[in-house]
């Protein structure tokens, strides 16, 4: 049997970063941010973009300081065995929840829109099988798939562009009516960027270590641009008050245009976006399995296999969208705060211990 191959190129890293964030968020983001920030929701999405940018930049710096050891070696050097265990366990729980949220969100959307006749569990099981099969062979496989799927993302870009001159600027004015509103809605914007944390685990696998920072930044910028643009277009077209009332504003938007052959864009956008979801699921599943296999000293493949069950169970608690979003609101802030603390702490310690580790390498 071939060993698991985890090496990726820097372009594949870019695509993985870009698509690790496209979750259920992109469809409901406009509604999430317009609740608090009203017409200036897009500004908070733009400001929220600082989070993924910081993550990829700090991640690259950390690994540069420890001369690209892999995550566990790095963590053990910096924190010792026990703290490494605790931190990784927290990340594991975080990824488990993220994956469960994405999976249940996907199932909720499918039974809402195009497959009303299926049970959500069927959709979840099928998605898990797809995610399992994709991530079973390691990161290299996923890198290749994301490379292919990246070009499909442009369709998600193109469809909202259809609406660009149909909106009304008065819906976006006045640009800012209160900084505190924008800050309040930052929470919702940050959730849509969750998933970026996988960069802390995959950076050491990049073969070409020269342009990690720029690849990460470009990857995040693409997603930030996509998010900001969709929010801008949705709010300019239907206004913030209506956008905040809808469950999936983008689906409403694309459903409102009558086309002759394909009726409307709704099914197409769900198809493309569904493929992205499978891919996001596999990325997170891969990183999750990597964590678990190292934590509990089992092989990557078997942890990949056994992990399917716990998050299916977890995801089944979040069926029905209002339940899911209320739980996301409660849980997510803690994880994001944890990630921020972890990355700043690691950056500090790694830059202090930098010289020692470099010397050891020599």
């Amino acid at each position: 049997m071939k060993a698991i191959n985890n090496h990726i190129t820097k372009n594949q890293y870019l695509f993985i970063i870009q698509s690790s964030m496209i979750g259920v968020g992109v469809l409901s983001l406009a509604s999430e941010v317009s609740k608090e920030a009203h017409q200036s929701g897009w500004i908070s999405v733009l400001i929220g973009g600082i989070y993924p940018l910081t993550c990829v930049l700090i991640g690259a710096s950390i690994y540069k300081n420890v001369s690209y050891l892999d995550y566990f070696q790095m963590s053990k050097k910096l924190y010792g065995n026990i703290l490494t265990y605790i931190f990784t366990l927290l990340f594991t729980v975080y990824f488990l929840f993220t994956e469960a949220f994405i999976l249940s969100g996907f199932a909720n959307l499918m039974i809402f829109s195009i497959t009303q006749f299926l049970s959500p569990y069927v959709i979840m099981i099928v998605s898990i099988i797809v995610a399992f099969l994709t991530s079973r062979k390691g990161l290299t496989n996923i890198g290749r798939i994301t490379e292919l799927m990246f070009y499909v993302t442009f369709f998600i870009f193109l469809i909202p562009l259809y609406f660009i001159n149909k909106g009304n600027v008065t819906n976006l004015l006045p640009l800012i009516d209160g900084i505190d509103n924008i800050l309040k809605s930052l929470k919702g914007a940050l959730f849509s960027y969750s998933g970026i944390e996988v960069c802390f685990f995959i950076i050491p696998f990049i073969t070409d270590t020269k342009k990690i920072k720029s690849s990460g930044v470009i990857g995040s910028l693409i997603t930030i641009a996509l998010y900001t643009m969709t929010v801008l277009i949705v709010v300019s077209y239907i206004g913030w008050r209506f956008a905040s009332k809808l469950q999936y504003p983008i689906l409403y938007l694309v459903g409102s245009i009558e086309l002759s052959v394909i009726a409307n864009f709704e099914t197409i956008i769900i198809f493309i976006w569904g493929n992205k979801i499978f891919q996001t699921l596999s990325i997170i599943h891969c990183v999750l399995s990597y964590c678990v296999s190292n934590l509990f000293k089992v092989s990557y493949k078997s942890s990949c296999y056994f992990l399917c069950l716990p998050y299916l169970v977890l995801a089944s608690f979040f069926i029905s969208e209002h339940k899911r979003s209320s739980i996301v609101d409660i849980i997510m802030p803690y994880f994001i705060i944890y990630t921020i603390i972890w990355m700043i702490l690691t950056l500090l310690i790694s830059s202090i211990k930098k010289r020692g580790i470099k010397n050891e390498g020599n």
Partner: protein, 370 residues
């Protein structure tokens, strides 16, 4: 072996795709339109009418109308279902017709229904009708096979007259309902029982406050309101010679409006600029001796003057008679002053100053020189 495994997996997954739980086409009633009424005598109960196609033989399509009383929007659905032989397909509805009394009672529940149901089409039209919606469906259509289709195609063809708006579909109604500083304004129709043919006609515009209709503007009066309200709308402006009607001028105009808002001494000032591009369709009013260039400019000036006067007259009348913004200009004030001033802007509409400026440019004179 691996290929076979994956192929098998994909085959199994394909089994999950399909039209499970759907009624076959023979068992479907293809809805064409629905009507909603209020029964004032029967304790404000609702009355729901549907019009649907009946496919009998090949190439023979008929229509039927069913009416039921109900407490809410969907109890009607339930009650109707024990009368009907087929399952209704709501995605095909062409027109929602609302009786005048129902519109005055409030249509919030209907709007909610139309948004919430994923199956419903967002490109249907919504109109208010004089009297009962039920009576509209009792008409006998000739041009189309259903009244609902009549209504929809009539609205779609009406955009070249009276400067009527293109925003008449249900998604535009949702936008008008939810966006700040706007109000729902939808066509008001009435039955037109002709000598030979029954049809419906647009006889005005129904104006709403939130989800309740407050008044109707007759179409002749609505023409100039439309000219101010709707950008990129089309219609005819004429110079009428009362003494000799063969010596008149007709222009086919496309309007474009721009609104600027400013504040002065706690008074809102709206500057509305209307650019009109006109095609000369008929002109016998011009004097014989003058050179053609002057003649065209003269007509443009005259139309400009006349339109501006009428618009000013309209604005004064609207302020006095209706007292609410029917020009769709408050949204610009809110965009300028901020959301928290919404109440102030609404209250101060009567006292605000609305300046209007018309520019007419004749871009074509047809085959003739002037």
């Amino acid at each position: 072996m691996r290929g076979i495994k994956i192929a098998l997996l994909i085959l199994i997954m394909m089994g999950f795709a399909g039209c499970y739980g759907r009624v076959p086409i023979e068992g479907l009633a293809v809805l064409a339109g629905t009507g909603n009424d209020l029964e004032k005598e029967a304790n404000n109960k609702f009355k729901n009418t549907i019009e649907f196609f009946v496919f009998k033989e090949e190439d023979k399509i008929e229509r039927t109308v069913i009416t039921v009383n109900s407490e809410t929007a969907y109890t009607a659905y339930e009650k109707r279902q024990i009368k009907m032989k087929k399952n209704p397909l709501v995605g095909t509805i062409r027109a929602y017709v609302i009786g005048e009394e129902r519109a005055k009672y409030g249509i919030g529940d209907l709007l909610d229904t139309f948004i919430r149901d994923q199956e419903r089409n967002l490109n249907t039209v919504m109109v208010v009708c004089k009297g009962k919606a039920e009576d509209i469906f009792m008409l006998n259509p000739v041009e189309n096979s259903t009244i609902s289709e009549d209504i929809k195609s009539e609205l779609q063809s009406s955009i070249n007259s009276y400067f009527l708006t293109r925003e008449m579909e249900i998604k535009d109604v949702f936008n008008m309902y939810y966006q700040e500083g706007r109000r729902i304004m939808i066509p008001y129709i009435e039955a037109d029982r002709g000598k030979y043919v029954d049809t419906v006609k647009i006889s005005g515009i129904a104006v709403f406050e939130k989800d309740k209709m407050i008044f109707m503007i007759p179409i002749e009066e609505a023409k100039y309101i439309n000219l101010i309200r709707n950008s990129n709308s089309k219609g005819y402006l004429s110079l009428v010679n009362e003494n000799d009607r063969t010596k008149s001028t007709d222009l086919f105009c496309t309007s474009k409006r721009k609104v600027k808002v400013s504040m002065e001494n706690d008074k809102l000032i709206y500057d509305i600029n209307i650019d009109i591009k006109a095609e000369n369709k008929m002109n016998t009013a011009g004097s014989e001796g003058e050179p053609s260039e002057n003649n065209i400019e003269m007509i443009a000036k005259k139309i400009e003057k006349q339109t501006e006067d009428r618009l000013k007259e309209t604005i004064a009348r609207v302020k006095q008679k209706y007292g609410v913004d029917v020009f769709d200009i408050e949204k610009y004030a809110i965009a300028k002053l901020g959301r928290d001033k919404e109440e102030f802007i609404k209250d101060s509409f009567k006292n605000s100053i609305i300046n209007v400026n018309v520019n007419v440019k004749i871009i074509s004179t047809g085959r003739l020189q002037n």
